[in-house]
Symmetry: C2
Subunit: 156 residues, 2 copies
């Protein structure tokens, strides 16, 4: 028998402000606040202001779980892009509905991080916040298919 | 009243093989398998072989929840590094115990991804798998404190 235990997590913060609808493109100029919830406070962010960027792990909370794709789909439903597995694309309708994005830190104010270019909407639950460290970049050359570049053309 | 709803997630895969103890350094040469669990199968990975790297979201499952830090600590307990908030470092003893790492795809074989340089041990539950896309890299110059470079010196 194959047993998979569920994992229960609790948001550590919420996105406040910024975009209110999960539209596809033009995220680069959005600013919003990542507001910690108790027991987290300014001490949880000590020293974060020495980093320029942060990696945010969040939940696509508006995605209906019934719409989650487990096999394959065309990104954005575009007929000119191939049907690829849900783990070969970054669409929102994914198992566990987790997003991971890197954005710029504008300021760290007490228990709030003000960020620019986070592709998450107002009210988004945040599961983790990590400083962006260059040491975690890929250690070898990156290759990716053409559609992966095309889909990003207007994204930021 | 401030209400924070828990989020319940289910692993989509498990790490098999590779390192069996969560030691600190030398991860770059490790290879392991990311094995999907049902209902996920080869269709969930269709097209992933066109990418060179994958971003893996996983759980530091051996971290005792009682040891999780919510405020600040010195990375690796090193007296020569500053005490920084848990969200200003990438240590394992973090709220929700989530790791996010980029590693190289060696091959995609049916419902298994063979990867190199994933800093997760045998048995690790995987919550999400995303293709690594250059379009999600930082859009502005990165800065980070000195300790963040020093801690990575022997990591890979």
């Amino acid at each position: 028998m194959f047993v998979v235990d569920d994992v229960t997590l609790r948001p550590v913060a919420f996105v406040r402000g910024g975009r209110r609808e999960p539209t596809d493109d033009g995220w680069g100029s959005e600013t919003c606040r990542i507001e910690l919830v108790p027991p987290f406070d300014r001490r949880s962010l000590a020293g974060l202001d020495e980093f320029s960027h942060v990696d945010v792990v969040f939940v696509f909370h508006l995605v209906d779980e019934a719409s989650v794709v487990t096999d394959a789909r065309r990104p954005r439903g575009r007929a000119d892009w191939p049907e690829v597995g849900i783990f070969a694309q970054r669409g929102r309708v994914r198992p566990n509905r987790i997003g991971v994005s890197t954005c710029e830190i504008e300021s760290v104010d007490d228990d709030v991080i003000v960020v620019r270019g986070l592709d998450a909407i107002d009210g988004t639950p945040v599961l983790d916040i990590k400083p962006h460290m260059s040491g975690f970049h890929p250690r070898s050359a990156i290759t990716e298919p053409g559609w992966a570049s095309e889909i990003m053309a207007e994204y930021w």
